[in-house]
Subunit: 350 residues, 2 copies
Amino acid sequence: MKKLIYLFSFLILLSCSGNQGDSTLEATLSTGQIVEEQGPITLVIHGGAGTITRDAMSADMESEYRAKLSESLNAGYQVLENGGSSLDAIIEAIQVLEESPLFNAGKGAVFTHEGRNELDASIMDGKTGMAGAIAGVSNIKSPISAARAVMENSPHVMMSGQGAEQFALEQGLEIVEPDYFHTDKRYQQLQDVLEKENNEGTSAYLYENPDRKFSTVGAIALDKDGNIAAGTSTGGMTNKRYGRIGDSPIIGAGTYADNTTCGVSSTGHGEFFIRNIVAYDIAALMKYKNMSLNDAAEEVVNNKLAAINGSGGIVSLDRAGNVAMKFNTEGMYRGYINEKGSPQVFIYKD
Amino acid sequence: MKKLIYLFSFLILLSCSGNQGDSTLEATLSTGQIVEEQGPITLVIHGGAGTITRDAMSADMESEYRAKLSESLNAGYQVLENGGSSLDAIIEAIQVLEESPLFNAGKGAVFTHEGRNELDASIMDGKTGMAGAIAGVSNIKSPISAARAVMENSPHVMMSGQGAEQFALEQGLEIVEPDYFHTDKRYQQLQDVLEKENNEGTSAYLYENPDRKFSTVGAIALDKDGNIAAGTSTGGMTNKRYGRIGDSPIIGAGTYADNTTCGVSSTGHGEFFIRNIVAYDIAALMKYKNMSLNDAAEEVVNNKLAAINGSGGIVSLDRAGNVAMKFNTEGMYRGYINEKGSPQVFIYKD
């Protein structure tokens, strides 16, 4: 009986999937069933989605982004190649991005309304279903490593503010002065927004950045043992106020991983991603509707989210090594690697 | 084709659902399809799940709990009866519980390790898909009303700490001195835990309360227009540290509402509820597997959560007026009302 239903589901999926615009790597899975066979070690990353166009990007800047994404992919892949775990690989890949001022995470974090940097991160282990997250921290050099410490060394999933900073200190994580996160470029972005607010009388917290860049970073890896791990790290929104928490530290919204379905890391207009439980919804469509990773990710990002103007994207990976990188914005910094020395990096739609 | 699949799903559901232990009101829906027909105005609430046994409860205490749960149900139902919205009804019902020292929310909030009260709450509107949440606030009299203000008067879903308090102040919500939340009973509970920690050398943050009461409160309503709203409010865990955030303010874990499936409010060991995206998972099983509310709630609470020792429960409601109140603990303060003057209140398993 079950098989019959799978078959019918498959036929329905087939009949719907003919003309969907696809801005991603094609998934090879097409059976409509949850994957059993394990794929090669693979790492997929993103560095944020938004209004990223060729016209607005200098050749030098594009090279910088491509080089840093490749560096991140190579660093994480080396961990996998040496037999390391998917958790170790994503930490390595994300830390390369956190330490770069190019991306809105760690060193390159955007500024809050009050001129601070408040960082969020989360991580999930698809083998055990354990997870960790931190929100609103200002002095932890690597937020993703703090999320991992919460997962592995506390009974909690989520810690916030000064309490989370205290925990990180006790855990021996690297603590920095808050101005470690100061970059002139990000500070100027805040000043531009504040000036605009001032001139236009826009209520501060209703202000939306016109270029709508959601430059969170994230990574998902599949290791030699078939374990999937996913992680996300961000500085949040420029000019955020009121201790706003976005989707990045929310398990099920910004990050999700389960060996039996997939790992997902989100980047986008966080409020939409929280309300639509984006990361878990992709896994739920695979688990409950027997969709392929590609179809599930397409459905959530380009049908459900796009229909309500929920801007952003996701990168994801399943146990067969299928990669889906979906976004409904003009671009998304992204890439994957499943073969030594061959990181595949993309920025625009085509 | 779709109908055929629904039929098969129905047959499968029937064949599996014969001998499940059921600690709830029986759901009347049995077609295995998402409900189309609108039920009567209904309100369902909970006041927390845990080791609640007849042996440990005095007759007086039981009467107090029953009276307060009935008062909450009557207050919320009156809103619905007067043609009010499901959002207004759950606010009314939850505020009765927040203002009572009996429940771990608002006035009766438990204490953190540092001897503070840090409150969390969230709300979701099943008609619009909008949501609001606050985490770690210490001076907002009604946390659920602050969650609603975040939903209705800001572009954000989640605010935390002093930023959330500042927002509530600007919104004109009632601000109280932090010691408004001090009750001797809860303070003594913290002292007992601290003493035990001290004597047994248990690491503070690894300590688990032996009586395992998760006395969050929550409510879901269905109004005359067929709109579902859900809300949850809590003081969190006694002796919590490090700015720990549980599931109550997490959309998809502690609270979820969607007119096309159901509304859910959770109470339990929050970390398990976050990792398993409990509230949304029930809706996902209805939406993607055509399960009834009763079967979906049973699957999540008494199969999935119980299998990993994820203690707690949920109350839920669908558009047909079906109520499911599921828990895998010894008791859960709970009740529903769908007829004037007849609140139905329960505490134990039977």
